[in-house]
Subunit: 320 residues, 2 copies
């Protein structure tokens, strides 16, 4: 099956650029949901993005004992919000699906409805946040169910460079997920570029060794304007080096400083990895609903997209 995004992902000479968002909370009525979507898309009218990403937020309190800095709230169905955003924006939308809570039959039905009712074709499956919890459907079984399912999807996987920093095996997870049907990967928010550089470099080497064409890795970045957002990032498992913490919190404008940190991280990643033959992309999200962080995310998008586009264009010109 061909999707707009699949075609766009196929050209390694170009970057792909996304904006990540979460559905409004469950208690929001549909009129308000539509209003929220309009507001988001109005903000995005100033930027050229290839698509949107809609997350499937789960209560991850089983993963960690610390209290969640922003309380967990059940959201609207990501498929429904994807459909709404896709119709309003005329852009493709990647829909996340957390698979662990329900069994195979319910997952099969989710997939059928996703495509037939909501027009969802680009999906990313997410496993259980912790290994301790009861898991109705492990991620590997979900991949099997997807492979056997009559509908065809453009499947992506999540990648977490922080796991690579700890266990140095995330590249193997990418190879395995590729075998399980993933044709692109989306990272967790990057605040520790070295972990990402190590992962991409190791993944490129592994692909070369196995004679496999590297899949596209979409790097997520998010601005951070306050101590509370930083605390939330750490709660989510995003690695923030100590010096970076201080650099952001001690700055006269933490938000502006976090954007400079993100840009610097991307530059380091491009310096180290642009020659490795792994096609890259960007996903910019705001981790909170604060107006200034959402506005900062739009500026961050422009800055990082132009940074990556320029590097790719320079590469192409060097070849002349």
């Amino acid at each position: 099956m061909s999707t707009l995004l699949k075609d766009r992902f196929a050209d390694p000479s170009r970057g792909v650029y996304f904006v990540g968002t979460t559905p409004p909370k469950d208690s929001t009525d549909m009129e308000q949901v539509s209003e929220i979507a309009n507001k988001l898309l109005e903000r995005l009218s100033a930027i050229d993005y290839d698509g949107l990403i809609v997350y499937d937020i789960q209560d991850e309190s089983s993963r960690i004992s610390a209290p969640r800095p922003f309380p967990f709230m059940q959201t609207h169905d990501p498929r429904a919000y994807s459909k709404l955003l896709s119709e309003k924006s005329k852009h493709p939308v990647i829909t996340y699906k957390s698979v662990s809570q329900r069994g195979k039959a319910e997952f099969d039905e989710w997939l059928t409805q996703a495509q037939d009712v909501y027009g969802v074709k680009d999906i990313v499956l997410v496993g259980s946040p912790s290994s301790a919890k009861d898991v109705a459907l492990p991620l590997a079984k979900a991949y099997d169910a997807l492979a056997e399912h009559p509908r065809d999807f453009h499947l992506g996987g999540v990648t977490i460079a922080e796991r690579h920093a700890k266990k140095a095996d995330e590249h193997q997870r990418l190879m395995q997920k590729t075998a399980q049907g993933c044709s692109y990967f989306i990272s967790q928010a990057v605040y520790n570029p070295q972990a990402t550089i190590d992962l991409i470099s190791r993944y490129a080497r592994e692909c070369r060794t196995q004679g496999i064409k590297p899949k596209r890795i979409i790097l997520t970045f998010a601005p951070c304007g306050s101590a509370k957002t930083l605390e939330f990032m750490e709660w989510l498992g995003i690695s923030v080096p100590e010096a970076t913490r201080y650099r952001i919190l001690d700055a006269s404008s933490p938000l502006g400083e976090s954007i400079r940190v993100c840009r610097n991280s991307l530059e380091q990643i491009l310096d180290a990895c642009i020659h490795l033959g792994v096609p890259l992309g960007l996903n910019i999200e705001s981790l909170t609903n604060r107006k200034e962080e959402i506005d900062a995310a739009v500026r961050l998008f422009k800055l990082l997209k132009a940074t990556m586009d320029l590097r790719l264009a320079e590469e192409a010109v060097e070849a002349i």
Copy 2:
């Protein structure tokens, strides 16, 4: 009247990006014209552009005694080619119109047809290439006719930095053309950044003095891969500094070197002018039909767009 481009031009925080082209020559049959348009748009599928520009090529031999390096050939009606490109690409198209050869009645009819038959809304009027020749309709009279015409257009003007280098009065011409209805300007190909910097700086000062909001200036760039193309550029009146001539012609890859020259020129212009409050844009064209120059134009587009986008994004982030 609102057009897609008018709305996009209205946001000074973003650049606008065009690709310039000429209609196929008159003798080409319609099937081939359609084929040529398809080929062009296929090449452009790798880039994000805001619109196309279709030139109205005239026999400018009255302007200069030197022979034209590439022979002049009558082309298809630019309005018809604009319509075709607009339909196929789903992008807006700016159509040039050379006004001097015919009288007012014919120009009025041209305008009516442009909008009613060809859906043309964004136009740039071009005056006589030389003052010596018989002029049926001077540019000023054409502007008058347009102002009185029942149809409404999104009007742009041509600007030539080389005139500023000689007479230091091009900024006044921009003010005058603004009074005559122009709301944006498109430059001749830039190979002498200093002339462009002088023009933009002087224009910004003049606007400040008169309390007028500066109009958008779209800078044209074109790759140059051979001595013949360079000769053609000079025949067209494009100023190429002596050192730049040698830099391009003596390079192992003149085409690659010309791209580096263009990028360096844009960097210089942005360094000097980005703070001046004059919204900018880019127009990339290939001056010949040579495959390698057309491909180079696509790469040049990517490089210069990312360069300008990055500078604008950096400006926006500095403000946080």
